[in-house]
């Protein structure tokens, strides 16, 4: 993976995810951070992106809206979207998967859980 966009309004959460990516060997990828869905959308349009990791609860544009925008865009809809949220449960996961997310992980995310999710994406 060459370019990964991380969308979360919390700098702490973005740092956690960044560290997890580094631990699982994706530290070489260009990791771009966005503070909300709208900012993430602009970054996704700027350059080809291999993965979007997004929170759900964000100001300006939330993660579910970002997911809908990405999946309805002919240019962006192939980008895999992994939702990392504190508000995830089986019902929410089903809802987000129906919108096009390939997975939903609960916070606090750990490197092993993230690695499993990315491996299932690759396969």
């Amino acid at each position: 993976m060459n370019r990964i966009v991380i969308a979360d309004d919390s700098a702490t959460a973005r740092m956690f995810i960044r560290r997890c990516l580094e631990i699982i060997g994706l530290g070489e990828a260009t990791l771009i951070e966005a503070e909300n869905g709208r900012e993430a959308l602009s970054l996704l349009k700027e350059e080809d992106t291999d993965l979007l990791l997004t929170d759900l609860n964000m100001p300006v544009m939330d993660g579910a809206t970002l997911l809908k925008w990405v999946k309805s865009s002919p240019r962006l809809h192939d980008i895999p979207v992994l939702v990392i949220t504190s508000a995830g449960n089986p019902a929410k996961e089903q809802e987000l998967t129906a919108l096009g997310a390939f997975g939903v992980l609960n916070k606090p995310v750990s490197p092993s859980v993230l690695m499993d999710a990315l491996q299932s994406l690759m396969s």
């Binding site: 956690f16 964000m58 609960n106």
Partner: protein, 156 residues
């Protein structure tokens, strides 16, 4: 109040601090240091659905500095106030998710607001409020849950 509500709250706090900061939380607060209002930071998170309520996390800034320092691997003197408040927001988000996932039925979705910093004393909610005290390394901190829905559901 049922044991389940209490257990779910306490487990959510313990799991969050253990997983995010590798810190052990204790409910034994006798002798733990209590801080004056000016050294405390408070954040509030609204629960919109399926019940309306509020969660408050009240932490002394020296404890927050220890947590942020351990997570960012940075000396405490280099940390900014914003980093402390951001961590407090992330902690309450994670606690809320873990608590609601454990407390609500598995197929129940819920909706949360965004963490907002409030002044010390503003945690006096108009709703029924229950507060739990904890300590980490002898620093006392608290979590409060407000919302008649939580407690009415408990009583029925």
């Amino acid at each position: 109040m049922s044991e389940k509500l209490e257990q779910d709250v306490c487990r959510a706090i313990a799991t969050t601090l253990e997983n995010m900061a590798f810190m052990e939380v204790s409910q034994e607060v006798e002798g733990a240091k209590r801080y004056p209002a000016e050294e405390m930071a408070v954040t509030r998170l609204l629960v919109h659905d399926p019940v309306q309520g509020e969660l408050y996390l009240l932490m002394p800034k020296p404890l927050l500095a220890k947590i942020v320092s351990s997570v960012y691997i940075m000396p405490e003197e280099e940390l900014s106030e914003q980093m402390l408040l951001d961590m407090l927001g992330e902690l309450i988000n994670t606690v809320a998710g873990l608590f609601l996932n454990a407390y609500l039925p598995e197929d129940q979705t819920y909706s949360l607001g965004l963490p907002e910093q409030v002044l010390v004393g503003q945690e006096d909610s108009p709703f029924e409020l229950k507060r739990w005290d904890f300590q980490i390394d002898n620093h006392m901190f608290s979590l409060a849950l407000a919302g008649d829905g939580f407690f009415i559901a408990e009583q029925s």
